[in-house]
C-alpha cells in the first residue's frame, strides 16, 4: 500500500498523515463524545470546583492559617460531588483509550505494512538490550494501556499508533491539528527568535515519543541532521514510519535521555518537548546535564514544557497537580511544574538561561516568534527554559 492509498481513506478532513489510524463513523462519533465529555468535565465542572477550592482557601486564610493547601485538599475530597468529578475524569480518560485502542488494533496489519519503508531517508535503531527507566515501569502514563515503554506487540507499530491517535483526541485539535506538532514548531520558533545566529548541522530531540515534535525540526532546518530518542521500541518504529510518510528526514534511536551514547559536543541544538514532566526530578537533573554535555560550544538547549507552572500559594493548580499525579498517572507533574528552572539550568552548566514563555506557532519559519515572561495560556504559549553552551 502507498501513502496516498492510505490517505484516500482518511476522513477527518484536517491535516494528517498516512500512519494515523483511520476512524470509522462509529469510532469517530465515540471519540468526539469522549473529547466533549472531557472538556465538559475539565472546563465547565472544573470552574465550579475551582470556585469551591478558592472559597475554602479564603476561609482558611481568614482564620490565619499559613499552609492552606492540605486543609482545602482534605475538605474537597470529603465532598461527594468532588469525588464523583475525580472518578468521572479518570473514567473519561479510560474510555478514550479503550476506543483508541480498538481503532488502532483493527488496523495493525495495515499499519505494519505501511511502516515497512523500502528506501527510508531517515533511520531507526532499536536496542534489544534497552533498560526502561524505573520511573516508567509499573505506571501507565496518562492511563494509556502499555505506557510509553511497553508494547502489546514487540515487533509492530501498534503502541505508537495508539499514542498518536490518543494525542489527536486528547489535544482536541488545538496542538497543530492531527499533526500534533505545535510544540515542536514552537521550540524551533524559540531558536529562531532568541538564537537567530545558530546555523545547526546536528539537532537532537530527547523524549521524542511518536516524533510529532521531531518532524518540525527537520522542516525548519532541512540541511541539518535531526536525531530523536525515546524509550519505547513500538513507539519509535511508528515515529520512523510517520516521519518517512511526512517526508521528514529523522534518525530515531532507542535511548535513555539521561545517558545517551552520543559523544560529547556532538550537537548544535538539543531540545525536549513536554518530556520533563513525564520523567522524575532526579531524571530531569540528569537530562538537563546530558543536554549540556552533548552541545558544541555555542550550541543551544531548549526544554519546552506546559505553560502551567505554579507557586505553592496557588491552591487550585495544586489540586490539578494532585489529580494529574494520582489519577492520571503523571508522577512528575507537580515536580516539573513547581521546579526552579533558572537554578536547574545553571546547575546543568548554562550560565545565563532564558526562562519564560514562547508564543505557540503552527509554522516556525513563517510565523513571527515572540518570547516573553508572560504566558498567554495553554496552546497559546509554551513554557521554555533554554541556554547556550
Amino acid at each position: 500500500m502507498t501513502a496516498s492509498d492510505a490517505l484516500s481513506g482518511f476522513r477527518d478532513g484536517r491535516r494528517g498523515h498516512a500512519m494515523l489510524p483511520v476512524r470509522s463513523h462509529d469510532e469517530l462519533s465515540e471519540q468526539m463524545l469522549v473529547r466533549d465529555l472531557k472538556m465538559f468535565l475539565s472546563d465547565d465542572l472544573g470552574r465550579l470546583h475551582q470556585k469551591s477550592a478558592l472559597a475554602l482557601s479564603e476561609t482558611a486564610r481568614a482564620q490565619g492559617r499559613n499552609d492552606v493547601f492540605p486543609g482545602v485538599r482534605d475538605a474537597l475530597y470529603e465532598r461527594s460531588g468532588f469525588q464523583t468529578w475525580v472518578s468521572l475524569r479518570r473514567e473519561a480518560q479510560n474510555q478514550m483509550w479503550q476506543s483508541v485502542v480498538r481503532t488502532a488494533d483493527r488496523q495493525r496489519d495495515r499499519l505494519d505494512s505501511l511502516a515497512a519503508i523500502e528506501t527510508p531517508i531517515g533511520s531507526l535503531t532499536i536496542d534489544p538490550d534497552f533498560v526502561v527507566p524505573d520511573y516508567l515501569v509499573g505506571e501507565n502514563v496518562h492511563l494509556m494501556p502499555g505506557g510509553y515503554a511497553g508494547s502489546p506487540d514487540a515487533n509492530g507499530v501498534l503502541q505508537g499508533a495508539v499514542i498518536d491517535l490518543g494525542g489527536a483526541v486528547f489535544m482536541r485539535g488545538m496542538n497543530g491539528g492531527l499533526l500534533n506538532d505545535q510544540r515542536g514548531q514552537t521550540a524551533m520558533s524559540h531558536v529562531l527568535t532568541c538564537y537567530s545566529d545558530v546555523n545547526p548541522k546536528r539537532i537532537l530531540e530527547m523524549g521524542c515519543g511518536i516524533g510529532a515534535s521531531a518532524v518540525p525540526a527537520a522542516w525548519a532546518f532541512p540541511e541539518a541532521d535531526v536525531c530523536a530518542i525515546d524509550v519505547g521500541a513500538s513507539m519509535l518504529r511508528y515515529a520512523h514510519a510517520r516521519a518517512e510518510h511526512l517526508g521528514a528526514r529523522v534518525h530515531f534511536s532507542q535511548q535513555n535521555a539521561e545517558v545517551t551514547d552520543f559523544p560529547d559536543a556532538s550537537f548544535d541544538i538539543v531540545y525536549s518537548c513536554v518530556a520533563l514532566h513525564e520523567a522524575s526530578m532526579p531524571a530531569v537533573v540528569n537530562i538537563l546535564g546530558e543536554s549540556r554535555r552533548l552541545l558544541r560550544p555555542g550550541g543551544i538547549a531548549v526544554h519546552l514544557e506546559v505553560p502551567l507552572l505554579y507557586g505553592a500559594d496557588d491552591v487550585w493548580a495544586g489540586m490539578q497537580a494532585d489529580f494529574e499525579s494520582l489519577y492520571n498517572n503523571e508522577p512528575n507533574w507537580r515536580g516539573a511544574l513547581t521546579a526552579n528552572y533558572d537554578a536547574l539550568m545553571r546547575d546543568a552548566g548554562f550560565d545565563a538561561p532564558l526562562i519564560g514563555f514562547q508564543r505557540a506557532v503552527g509554522d516556525a519559519r513563517n510565523e513571527t516568534g515572540q518570547f516573553s515572561d508572560r504566558s498567554e495560556g495553554p496552546f497559546r504559549s509554551w513554557f521554555v527554559a533554554s541556554g547556550r553552551a
Binding site: 463513523h25 463524545l33 465532598r79
Partner: protein, 103 residues
C-alpha cells in the same frame, strides 16, 4: 381491571449488602446494567432499520459507515453531543454548584 400483580411490581426483598460496597455503588451498577440493556435495544433497532432500508434499496450496504457529515451536520452533531452530556451529567453539575456555595 386486572388484579394480578405484575412481576415487576413485587414487594422489594431484602438485598444482602456486598462487603465494602455502599448502597450508592450497587445502585450505580444497577443503573449501568439497565443503561447497557437500553443501548443494546436502540442499536438493534437501528441495525434492523439499516438492513430493511438496504433490503429495499433505499440505502446501499455500508452507506452509514461511509457517511461523512458535512459542516452543518457536524455542527448539529456537536450541539447534540453537548446537550446530551449536559443532560446525562446534570446531577454532577448540580452537586458541584451546591458544593461551591458551601464553605
Amino acid at each position: 381491571m386486572d388484579e394480578r400483580q405484575a412481576a415487576s411490581n413485587q414487594a422489594p426483598s431484602a438485598s444482602r449488602p456486598v462487603p465494602g460496597h455502599r448502597a450508592l455503588d450497587d445502585d450505580m451498577l444497577a443503573m449501568l446494567v439497565a443503561l447497557a440493556s437500553e443501548l443494546t435495544l436502540v442499536r438493534a433497532r437501528q441495525d434492523a432499520m439499516e438492513r430493511i432500508l438496504t433490503g429495499v434499496g433505499v440505502v446501499t450496504d455500508g452507506a452509514v459507515d461511509r457517511f461523512e457529515p458535512d459542516k452543518a451536520a457536524e455542527m448539529a452533531r456537536a450541539t447534540e453531543r453537548k446537550r446530551m452530556i449536559a443532560n446525562v451529567f446534570r446531577a454532577v453539575r448540580m452537586r458541584a454548584e451546591y458544593e461551591g456555595v458551601q464553605t
